[in-house]
Amino acid sequence: MIRRTFLGTTLLGAAALAFMQPAFAQDDKVKVGFVYVGPIGDGGYTYEHDQARLKVEEHFGDKVETVYQESVPEGADAERVMTQMALSGADLIFATSFGFMDPTINTAKKFPDVKFEHATGYKRADNVGTYSARFYEGRAVLGHIAGKMTETNKIGYIASYPIPEVIRGINASYIAAKKANPDVEFNIVWAFTWFDPAKEADAAKALIEQGADVILQHTDSTAPHAAAAEAGNVIAFGQASDMAEYKPSPRVSSIIDNWAPYYIDRVQAVMDGTWESDDTWDGIGPGMVEIGEITAVPDDVKAEALEIRDRIAAGEYHPFTGPLNRQDGSEWLKEGETADDATLLGMDFYVEGLTGDIPN
């Protein structure tokens, strides 16, 4: 009997919660939903998406209402979350992880009047647009600093998974580092995880013990910074978020995902009725990728890095500009030629000079 009462109370509570969420939907406001793959306190990827959501609220004030759901599993649950958001009157929904791709397309079919924006995916529909950031532009800037700062000429790179996004980052940093310092050598460790502080720390330590005095990372925790701080004389760079707690050294700069300008732009488009499905791939220029404050490096290195950043932003310089060969020595880009987006999106090869094989 007690058990039945308990169950009843729980169900009632759950039902009350479910009804409370959509209760305040109003027609004159634009309602924007955000679906996050991680907790908003992860200090990295999801944290930056949520910061952008707060900026949207700040920018539009009373004209907009935002709702979000964190730690949504990639799969059927995501479809349920988005369906609920749409039913509760959302006009625009941002699905912020690659794994939400099919759920987004499915939900979008059921709600043709609701606009959807899916991050880092490639499937689009009349009411589904996609967006992503050119992080490799930021990596070119960091690569330059890395090449200038290394004294042992060995740069350690902690990579996550062998997908085009990560390979692009390695190539972009290597090309820039090589330009800054022709003797530079990259040691790449594949961690096969986005987030495992102990493993990232071990990887950083292994690289440092083998002589690397600069650590670049494409994993999400600050553990490599802690290892660099302990070793002394080693520098590292923030990933996805500023990682400012390790300023001014070992963290000497960072790549920051800044989604706010894009989110504000798209919400504005919905308000104006001008929203259309498209594919956005923005970099430093439009402000989607930011370089964190450059600290604890000589002034000339900082000035050069900022110049590279500004030239990339202005479209005067492309991080993948020929002459460039593939790792096997075959020609990829001729003198002055720049890489096309299709090749970049599917990048599965190292450029000439990098050693080791990409795991399959």
Partner: protein, 309 residues
């Protein structure tokens, strides 16, 4: 490929650091299982120890206070498991899994305000001229106190289980709790003590991650170390000396594969990453193929006990 860049001294030294959390957690679980209790909550107790130790170390500025707090936090969570399984006779496997899930959840709640903070450093012991000896200086005399503590604990656990009367009593409880009860041994009290000890050890292991090995707090930072500790106990066929071997082997393979990668050895990365797990599976298969190995498990392992039985 240039293997000369790997310094054997630093490799062994970092291997010991990487293995210490596993060793501490596995030693605790060894004692728990020797008492006939299967606690699958090691991962949860580790991460509660990781945040508990981190928080107290940051608040007080003393890493030692942090480690003490971690042991208390781990033991507290273990006691919840103990009450549920020893007094309320809940299923040990299900309760252990629930303990892990609960520990992961409450640790991220407790840790909300602690991400991005640097803990006070746990320095390496300064042993004067001994630390300057080649190789031996760094490998034997160049560690923080927790590493020595874990080695001492290995010996203490071995001595307790094999050479002391109390250890014999604990093993009797684990082998046949009905017979032990008939002899007037307080089965539940001994098991509760073993569970609390196991929790304290797991908590210490977790704190070693958040205070020394990484060192910082991030949600979910144990990422499976507790499960590996459980596997090490079986791998070691419930012997303290082999727990040490298992923990160092496991930690060693992880560190070695990262070092080999960094040195550019052209081995496929996937196999290197898999290797610790493959070795564990291989040992488990070898052990179960030998009859003596299977018989090494405490006979009452995982069974609930009530005096009315």
């Amino acid at each position: 490929m240039d293997l000369s860049v790997i310094s054997p001294t630093l490799l062994v030294a970092s291997l010991m650091v990487a293995s210490t959390p596993l060793l501490l957690a596995a030693l605790g679980e060894l004692v728990v299982e020797k008492a006939g209790v299967l606690n699958l909550g090691v991962e949860g107790m580790m991460i509660v120890g990781a945040i508990g130790g981190f928080a107290i170390a940051v608040e007080t500025g003393s890493p030692v206070a942090g480690f003490v707090a971690a042991a208390v936090a781990g033991a507290a969570l273990a006691s919840v498991f103990g009450v549920l399984t020893q007094f309320l006779l809940a299923n040990q496997v299900a309760t252990g899994l629930a303990t892990t899930l609960f520990g992961l959840g409450i640790s991220s709640l407790m840790g909300q305000s602690y991400s991005g903070i640097r803990p006070p450093a746990t320095p390496r012991l300064d042993l004067g001229p001994l630390g300057d000896l080649p190789f031996v200086g760094r490998v034997v005399f160049g560690h923080d106190w927790v590493v020595y503590f874990s080695l001492l604990l290995t010996f203490a656990v071995w001595w307790f289980l094999n050479r002391s009367r109390a250890g014999l009593t604990l093993r009797a409880v684990g082998e046949n709790h009905a017979a032990a009860h008939a002899l007037g041994i307080k089965v539940v009290a001994i098991r509760m003590a073993a569970i609390a000890f196991g929790g304290a050890c797991a908590g210490l292991g977790g704190a070693y991650l958040s205070l020394v090995r990484v060192p910082q707090w991030t949600e979910g930072m144990t990422s499976g170390a507790g499960w590996i500790a459980l596997a090490i106990v079986v791998f070691a066929s419930w012997r303290a000396g082999r727990v040490l071997l298992g923990a160092y082997l496991f930690g060693g393979v992880t560190v070695l594969q990262l070092n080999l990668q960094a040195a550019g050895v052209a081995l496929p990365v996937e196999y290197l990453s898999m290797s610790p797990y493959l070795i564990t599976i291989a040992v488990l298969v070898l052990m179960s193929a030998r009859r003596r190995g299977a018989a090494a498990a405490p006979a009452s392992l995982g069974q609930s006990f009530h005096a009315s039985q």
